[in-house]
Point group: C2
């Protein structure tokens, strides 16, 4: 060990003999990777002790990450996160407004912020709260436009190398030249496989960084005498109290401050909460061109985040429309006859900017072939206006589900999705299938979700993308274990069937009291399409009213039957059980159970989101991985062929089996979903 000489100290380190650095990054911006690299350099190239903790939630990308780096000549015994930091870096400007990045700063600490503002304009663009923290704690403030440096070096949005150089320049834990040499060495090691161009870009970014790093002078700026302003809640005031007060706190990374009593005692969370999150993570969002659009609905169908939606409506609905709200006459024959208007609307603050909608759009402007019916444009200038347009769009009347031809995508995609704004990666290939299922069956769906990507983005505390319609109906969702999901979902079916049977028996037992006609109608309903189900729901409502009427007059024995039937009445409406997971679940870990459910012939729907690799854990091969394929953690290439799960399922001769790919044939996907759900399995045939 011994004493280490810091040749270019910026101050604090020499006194405290240790660095406690905190970095705020955006999931997928490379901050965590760069910090792992930095701590390795420090650990390997100096005689000091190092420690690093990385904290991020389970959002697949686009959420806040924090890196906690400790470094110093004394052994590090702090087995907890950093709460007093002498170096803080904020790698994304927008965090300044919503995360308390300086809370942990000690007096005299160094603060580095990535910003689009020139150094002289930075101060005035900082929120009051941050200004006050800097003044009170006498922080040294540095800034760089890392996005510009990275972009000019040809690295697009990858700012990690730039910010890493700034850290080494400011923290002074290594001689600057040594640090830069080490960074370049590690760049060569990391990227050489990807080609000399990538290496050169990164090296150039390193060289350009220091000339773009500036100290921000703030001494002498006027001081505010008011108390430190509260950090604004990320959730709008119009959100339900639980969302605002409990989930909002979690979104602010203050979940640890919530009392246990604030949490649901049985673990049941309200659905439809992602809509309050407004992550604003897309740099560009799609913009609709009504004149080019053929109104095919493909962009709506394929959007992984349910942020593009279509509606048809009476023209008079437009009276109160915002000025920038776009619309055009519908092209669909029957709606045209009714003179309806058509709109494709984007949710600007929920979009992840994945651009799949643009890729899939088949319509081109003939006079300008690069212009499609959907094109990407920067989000910030559009945000305000499109937010209003989105609000207006949501308040347009929902289409009448009973009159949609669900076999046509353009019609079917008018159905409201009950899975929206998930934490899945932008461009996720799984979520469009979940969304489709919820459009078709969401109002009577129960989902057993295997562990994997879908359980993460599906039940991503604090929010969930599974939502409900205006009547409050939506999927009931739960995740048990990786290895028992099929059985878990089979249990839903068994319980539902038992409840339905009990309700039916009670109906028979109470036939005189309730009335023959209603009882017979309830028991005889085929419930094969939307209309049947709608009517059955009406009947159940009648039944409930009838039960309320009879109850006060009933004797004790009948009363018990009536109360039981009241609690079971909703089971008289058909439910749709979905057992969902990835190939890691279906082909491997949960396959024993999946096979058992297949063999049972019970009326359940099994949806395998087959990515041919364990996606959630970073890419291990599964039995679904094709022969020869190389995965991130299966570099030798798969020896065996892909397991043919569909063929295996067919050996039972009692299952409806299909393989679909929306990108290959979207109509087929839609048809299969409809057919699969309507197939009743062995037990009911």
């Amino acid at each position: 060990m011994g004493c280490y000489y810091y040749p270019s100290l910026t101050g604090i380190l020499f006194e405290r003999k240790s660095l406690r650095a905190l970095f705020y990054g955006l999931g997928s911006d490379g901050t965590v990777g760069a910090n792992k690299n930095s701590i390795k350099i420090l650990g390997e190239e100096t005689d000091n002790y190092v420690q690093a903790y990385f904290v991020y939630d389970s959002k697949k990308s686009g959420s806040v990450t924090t890196s906690h780096l400790r470094f110093g000549p004394e052994p590090i015994r702090s087995t907890y996160l950093i709460s007093s930091a002498n170096f803080i870096a904020c790698h994304q400007w927008e965090f300044i407004n919503r995360v308390d990045v300086l809370e942990a700063a000690v007096e005299g600490a160094t603060f580095l912020v990535n910003s689009i503002y020139k150094p002289k304009n930075l101060w005035d663009n900082l929120p009051k709260r941050v200004q006050k923290q800097i003044q009170e704690k006498q922080l040294k403030v540095y800034t760089i436009d890392a996005n510009e440096v990275a972009d000019k070096a040809g690295m697009g949005k990858r700012i990690n190398t730039v910010m890493q150089v700034c850290f080494f320049a400011l923290a002074g834990v290594l001689p600057r030249e040594d640090a830069i040499a080490e960074i370049k060495k590690s760049i060569r090691k990391t990227y050489s496989k990807k080609g000399e161009t990538i290496v050169a870009m990164n090296i150039q970014a390193v060289d350009k960084t220091l000339e773009n790093l500036f100290q921000v002078e703030w001494q002498g700026k006027p001081t505010d005498t008011e108390a430190l302003p509260e950090l604004p809640s990320p959730v709008s005031e119009s959100a339900p109290a639980f969302v605002h007060d409990v989930l909002g706190k979690m979104m602010m990374r203050q979940g640890d401050l919530l009392p246990v009593s604030a949490l649901p005692c049985d673990g049941t969370y309200p659905s439809g909460t992602t809509r309050w999150e407004k992550r604003n993570i897309a740099a560009e969002i799609p913009v609709w061109e009504p004149d080019v659009c053929v109104q095919c609905g493909k962009c709506v169908m394929v959007c992984p985040h349910a942020v593009i939606r279509a509606k048809v409506y009476e023209p008079e609905q437009l009276t109160l429309a915002p000025g920038t709200f776009k619309h055009t006459g519908t092209r669909t024959q029957e709606w045209k006859a009714q003179g309806l208007e058509f709109t494709i609307q984007v949710a600007p603050e929920d979009c992840t900017g994945c651009k799949i909608c643009v890729d899939v759009c088949p319509a081109k402007d003939k006079s300008s072939p690069n212009r499609k019916a959907i094109n990407m444009a920067p989000q910030p200038p559009l945000r305000e206006a499109e937010r209003d347009n989105w609000e207006f769009f949501l308040n347009l009347p929902e289409p009448d589900r009973l009159h949609l031809d669900v076999h046509k995508i353009a019609h079917q995609q008018m159905q409201t999705p009950l899975f929206e704004f998930s934490g899945a990666c932008g461009g996720c290939g799984e979520t469009p299938y979940l969304k489709l299922a919820t459009q078709l069956f969401g109002d009577r769906m129960l989902v057993a979700n295997a562990t994997g990507c879908s359980s993460i983005y599906g039940g991503n505390l604090p929010t969930t993308p599974w939502t409900h319609n205006a009547e409050g109906r939506g999927p009931a969702w739960s995740n048990s274990l990786f290895e028992d999901n099929a059985e878990f979902g089979l249990g839903f079916r068994v319980a539902l069937d038992r409840h339905t049977r009990q309700a039916s028996e009670l109906l028979q037992a109470l036939r005189t009291e309730i009335g023959e006609e209603l009882v017979d109608a309830l028991l005889a309903s085929p419930q094969q399409d939307e209309a049947d189900i709608f009517e059955q729901r009406e009947r159940v409502e009648s039944l409930k009213h009838r039960l309320e009427d009879i109850l006060p007059l009933a004797d004790a024995e009948k009363r018990l039957q009536l109360v039981n039937l009241r609690s079971l009445a909703d089971y008289l409406v058909k439910k749709s059980v979905w057992i969902i997971g990835g190939d890691g679940w279906a082909y491997d870990i949960g396959y024993g159970g999946l096979d058992h459910v297949l063999a049972s012939g019970r009326n359940v729907n099994l949806l395998v989101l087959d990515t041919e690799v364990y996606s959630n854990t970073g890419g291990q091969m599964s039995k679904s991985t094709p022969k020869g394929a190389v995965a991130k953690f299966a570099e030798g290439g798969k020896v065996a062929t892909k397991k043919d799960l569909g063929l295996i399922a067919m050996t039972y001769g009692t299952a409806y089996v299909a393989s679909v790919a929306m990108g290959a044939r979207d109509e087929h996907t839609l048809r299969v979903f409809l057919e699969a759900e309507s197939y009743k399995g062995l037990a009911k045939k």
Copy 2:
């Protein structure tokens, strides 16, 4: 509660106010069932407290069962087995000689024994030890020839009802008439489904019982002054010490008295120990008729307990044969040319009397069509002579495996089985397949055994039927869990392959020291048939000698390599991995892992003993159960069709798959075993 009046007490109950009754029965003789019934009668028909414990080992049938029944007016707080009994019944005469049935008897207790001897002859046929116990404890002794009563009533060997009536008659816990009425009531309840004939037989047995129950007068018989003789060990003196001293104690039901230090510290037990057990449970055994026999080997192949064996040998071997030893000239062409003799020999004390050999025998005496080449005859008169014949037969030279044509059953069945005398039920349909595998590959076989019947009769402490040949080579066997057996066996393969690879690498590294020629021969051996493997074993022996020669001269580094190679040398001989279990394992509980092993394409053999039902636990339906089939615990009938495991395995396109039934086509079974084992799987192709 209150006081209960016993109108026909035989003595002790009134004083002690409670009955503590102990029953010794033979697994499958109905004793346990009858006692469960008795305790129900006592619990339901009187105001007294009752308790029953039933103790039996995991032998499928034919072992000792004990029933511990407590009854009395006070609450029963004894949470342990009965160690002082005032009523003891021995339902099988032969236990008198090998079980300490009277050890728990208190003074003045009642002792009931089922015996073929007349009451006046009984005393003289009791072993000295039992006589002494009766005299010392002043027991009241009763006897009945229950087998005769049952047989005369048309119930064959089912003595349970007869003995139950005796119990009620002697224990006096219920008025005799009431007890008999209750027994008859319960007979009607239990057997009415099986028809009036069965009910009538049982009722008749009840009525005939009391007139055949006699007290044995022993007062005044001469008293022996010597100490109480030791119970004879069930294991012969010629058995290895561990078998005699440790396993023998367990067989005597004295395992609890063994010190922990007597047990193997790593759970490894010696194999081939059932041969010391000599259970003598067959009333009749097969007798061979050399003049009728066509020498096809089918009886040998099908015998579930490996108690019928065939050998060919030089006539001069007969010089010392016992007088009753049977033999005839061989009928097989090539052996006939050599003038060899042929014998089929039965192990009289290991046979279970299942008669499958007789059923399968295709040879008939043309002059007396009911006479086959094998016929059943009572065991006791044959026991002594056949025991000697069996011993003589075992000592005849083994056939030279290298010159057997293993594709012909008559030849192949000369191979010594390395699975013999298991605790499986008489006539077990699974064990012949295990036996066949051991005949073919047993000397280089590793077995991973799933939980189920096969794990019970396969590792049935204190003894195991898996055995070894004269060179000490035999299957290594282990049972892990129901749900992980396929993975467990795959681990054997992975470890073996790793060891072989390491040994091969060491051979290469030590090429100069060991000698080019030997190294090349060791590495190049194809090991595809018995002859190859024989030669490879010879080479490994040479290698070991060579290593011993080099070792003293080697430097430290080489020495380490040499020692490692010495410990790995045996892995240069091909091993055969067998993953074995029933349909409960393969189709249901362990299927996820089985599928994973199938997909791996590794060189393992999966043997599914498909009984189409969970056999070990009494008959629950599995996914293998055919549509419509009714099992004991699946009375509704199977709704789904039988899962097609073979077809599923074929979907991988990389597995050798076959379905066999010895009873349908024994040659096919043999060929499939040979082909499956020689198929190397995906990895080696």
